[in-house]
């Protein structure tokens, strides 16, 4: 079920109302049933795959607490193999087969691996990573194994964050299912407002921008550099509003149930550097990689070359996590490259002479660094959006060389919608970034809240793209 559909508009109030009418003893049961229903809206049979991993990780969690210390690692590896194995089959097998076939053709070998004609289970990478974080935390002793199977299943399947995160940690989420959650009007109203804002970002901004991006990227050979550059900038905002919109709806839906999920975005396009960008973008994934990959690899407590290698490899794996295509790997590699350059540059400037340092300081201002970081991020997004590496290279080449063509304009006042949505978004982000003491949806005054809610509702109805289009991150 998608958040931006009429089905969800019926599903959500029923689930929330019944939840508060039920006694605490049965709430987990109700939420689990609702989450199963939510997940089965996509491909019902895939619930069995999810159930399989849930059973494995639940048992591994319990055994991890009861086996001898020397056997713990084996158990953890088994659990990781099971989780990654499912990812490998469903998400990466065809990519692997395709590359092996191309390579064998190139080497004149007679290998021809067959392709699997199966749909990727929705949100597979998200719930797999969430399940893995549970077993790793139990292994590390940071989390007690959950003995209540239903609650553990709910931890993996909790419907607001089931298909596109945030990727939660057991320490943050599991205990909340045990606690009694009374109906707190302010909390529910804040949750609903957050959902409304998320919906605005998705249908008014992201889906509107998507129309231009799709038109241009799908026929990139017909368009000139200016249109491709604008489409690339639009895509940067589209993916942000699409994904952060989803996260806001997820956080809001959980909040209405009295459950706090981790913040996934902190205004990433106000970042001064790529390093800062990753502290603000998809925080639940970047902290996952930090905690379970970067630090075990040695983090920054190793020699400088190894440190840079660690950063680079984490970004490449992060790219590969997004999708089984070389475009995602290159996207990750570019971020790895930018981050390592960022670190090297910081090291270099710390040892630089005074005159040079003055020059650096004069440039190192938000007015320069924010647009520069945005430019780098947008450049990387070209690979993320393109169908193939050659398409991305073509697009970048055209952006850099083809200046003379006419800008592609969509009819029907298209840019008016885009500008309206982006202006509201920019104002809200700037207000939050600068911590201006102006509040709309969270105002203490009911009249201000009322006006803001009605304004957003009218904007969604009048200017939103109401075709229930999918969220970009669902494919991961």
């Amino acid at each position: 079920m998608l958040f931006n559909t009429f089905s969800f508009l019926l599903f959500f109030p029923i689930v929330t109302l019944v939840y508060y009418f039920l006694s605490q003893r049965f709430r987990w049961c109700w939420l689990l049933a609702a989450s199963c229903y939510f997940y089965m809206f996509f491909v019902p049979v895939y619930i069995f795959i999810l159930a399989g991993t849930i059973i494995i990780d639940y048992l591994v969690g319990i055994y991890l607490e009861n086996v001898k210390p020397e056997n713990k690692k084996t158990l953890l590896i088994l659990s990781i193999i099971a989780n990654v194995g499912i990812l490998a089959v469903f998400k990466y097998y065809n990519f692997f087969a395709d590359n092996v076939n191309v390579l064998s053709q190139y080497l004149d070998l007679q290998s021809n691996l067959p392709f699997l004609h199966i749909l990727l289970p929705v949100g597979l990478s998200f719930h797999t990573f969430q399940a893995m974080s549970y077993t790793i935390e139990v292994y590390r002793g940071n989390q007690k194994a959950e003995t209540h199977f239903g609650r553990y299943a709910l931890y993996v399947m909790f419907y607001p964050q089931l298909v596109a995160g945030p990727i939660e940690r057991p320490q943050n989420l599991l205990h909340q299912f045990r606690e009694k959650k009374p109906f707190i009007p302010r909390q529910v109203s804040d949750g609903l407002c957050l959902m409304l804002w998320g919906m605005f970002k998705k249908v008014v901004v992201a889906d509107r921008l998507a129309k231009y991006v799709d038109s241009v990227y799908d026929n990139h050979s017909m368009h000139h550099g200016s249109s491709l550059a604008l489409a690339s900038v639009f895509f940067a905002f589209q993916i942000y509003c699409d994904f952060s919109g989803y996260s806001d709806i997820a956080l809001g839906a959980a909040k209405t149930l009295g459950i706090d999920l981790m913040t996934n975005f902190k205004r990433p396009y106000f970042s001064n550097s790529i390093t800062q960008f990753w502290r603000r973008w998809h925080i639940s994934l970047s902290t996952w990689f930090r905690d379970y990959l970067y630090i075990p690899l040695g983090g920054n407590r190793v020699s400088p070359p190894r440190w840079l290698f660690n950063i680079f490899i984490v970004f490449i794996i992060s790219g590969f996590w997004h999708g089984a295509n070389w475009t995602f790997v290159i996207w990750g590699a570019l971020h790895g490259l930018f981050s390592t350059i960022n670190i090297l540059f910081s090291k270099f400037t710390s040892k630089a002479s005074a005159p040079f340092l003055n020059i650096i300081r004069s440039i190192d201002r938000p007015i320069f660094t924010i647009p520069f970081t945005f430019l780098l991020v947008t450049l990387a997004w070209v690979f993320f959006r393109a169908e193939s590496v050659s398409q991305a290279v073509d697009i970048i080449k055209k952006i850099c060389t083809d200046f003379h063509g006419k800008l592609f304009v969509k009819p029907g006042g298209y840019f008016v919608y885009c500008m309206a949505g982006l202006t509201i978004l920019f104002f809200k982000e700037l207000k939050d970034e600068r911590r201006w003491n102006i509040h709309f949806l969270s105002s203490k005054h009911f009249s201000v809240r009322l006006f803001s809610i009605v304004f957003l509702l009218v904007m969604i109805l009048l200017t939103g793209v109401l075709d229930s289009s999918q969220f970009i991150y669902f494919q991961f």
Partner: protein, 303 residues
């Protein structure tokens, strides 16, 4: 708790009031337009009374020149082709035209060689929402085929989704002169580089067949002649399942099928095309002449 329920009730009441008030204002704005896209669409579909109506997608829009029709056979003709439309839009447009035009005698339905291999998208009905208050067919198609649309339509604002700039622009333009409208779009000559390919054999959809049948039924009920035409396409359509079914369909229903998709004259003349799907202005004029000749000389007179 009481305060919470009071606040929820106030939010709901104000939201509904805003929906109705702004919706009514937009309805008034639309009804009083004298120019602009929506006004033109309404006038074209409900006020013009040609004897021959050409229905179809951007291919119809670019391929049939009504001026040539009028010059050669003397029948008033309007090209109702709509860019990006398929059978759903064509069905709705035709229903509206038939309802409002008693003088109509013949309908020329232009289809692509793969028309029935495309699953109909009933979201196309949204393009007609500016006519929802005047043409009941729009609402009935929407309610019948789109899930939850009945409930969504209880909002007064919903029907004006994505229309406001275009609606306001209508007030800034000069009033349109409708006696000059033909609906024909002249495609420029381009340096079309032909890649001659086969139009794949694909599965045909039951829903598309049903729509085609509905178009046939409304024409028959209103006693209008229906001519189905596959205008030139730069590709080999001989193996298309859609074409095979179309031939069979026309034979069973006793309809005229004018198939130009495999005509060598066009397949050997890429200079007549704007792209593989569309003829340019020169090609369109040539095709219109040939179509009229064929339909008059070879198949008897039109209306």
């Amino acid at each position: 708790m009481k305060k919470t329920w009071l606040h929820i009730s106030i939010v709901l009441c104000v939201a509904i009031a805003a929906d109705k008030a702004i919706g009514s204002a937009l309805k008034w704005l639309l009804a009083h337009q004298k120019s602009g896209g929506y006004f033109e669409m309404k006038q074209k579909l409900t006020q013009l009374t040609p004897q021959i109506a050409i229905i179809g997608s951007s291919r119809a829009e670019a391929h049939y020149n009504p001026e040539i029709f009028e010059k050669k056979c003397g029948y008033s003709t309007i090209n109702y082709g709509m860019s990006g439309s398929h059978l759903v839009s064509e069905y709705i447009a035709l229903s509206i035209i038939i309802q409002h035009n008693p003088q109509l005698k013949t309908v020329v339905l232009d289809v692509t060689p793969y028309e029935l291999s495309m699953l109909p998208d009933y979201n196309e009905v949204h393009d007609f929402y500016s006519l929802i208050n005047d043409c009941p067919i729009v609402k009935s198609v929407a309610v019948q085929h789109l899930p939850f649309e009945k409930y969504k339509l209880t909002s007064s604002l919903y029907v004006y989704n994505s229309t406001v700039p275009e609606m306001l622009a209508g007030y800034l333009r000069k009033p349109a002169k409708f006696h000059k409208i033909t609906g024909f779009i002249q495609s420029p000559e381009t340096d079309f580089k032909p890649v001659f390919g086969k139009i794949e054999r694909k599965e045909i959809y039951r829903e598309s067949i049903e729509l085609l049948d509905s178009i046939y039924t409304i024409c028959m009920r209103a006693n209008k002649q229906l001519v189905i035409c596959v205008s030139p396409y730069f590709g080999d359509a001989t193996e298309s399942n859609s074409m095979a079914f179309l031939k069979d369909f026309c034979f069973r229903k006793g309809l005229r099928l004018m198939d130009y998709s495999s005509k060598e004259m066009y397949l050997k003349s890429p200079e007549l095309f704007r792209d593989e799907k569309h003829l340019n202005y020169r090609g369109a004029n040539l095709f219109t002449e040939q179509f009229i000749d064929d339909i008059f000389v070879k198949n008897g007179s039109l209306p």
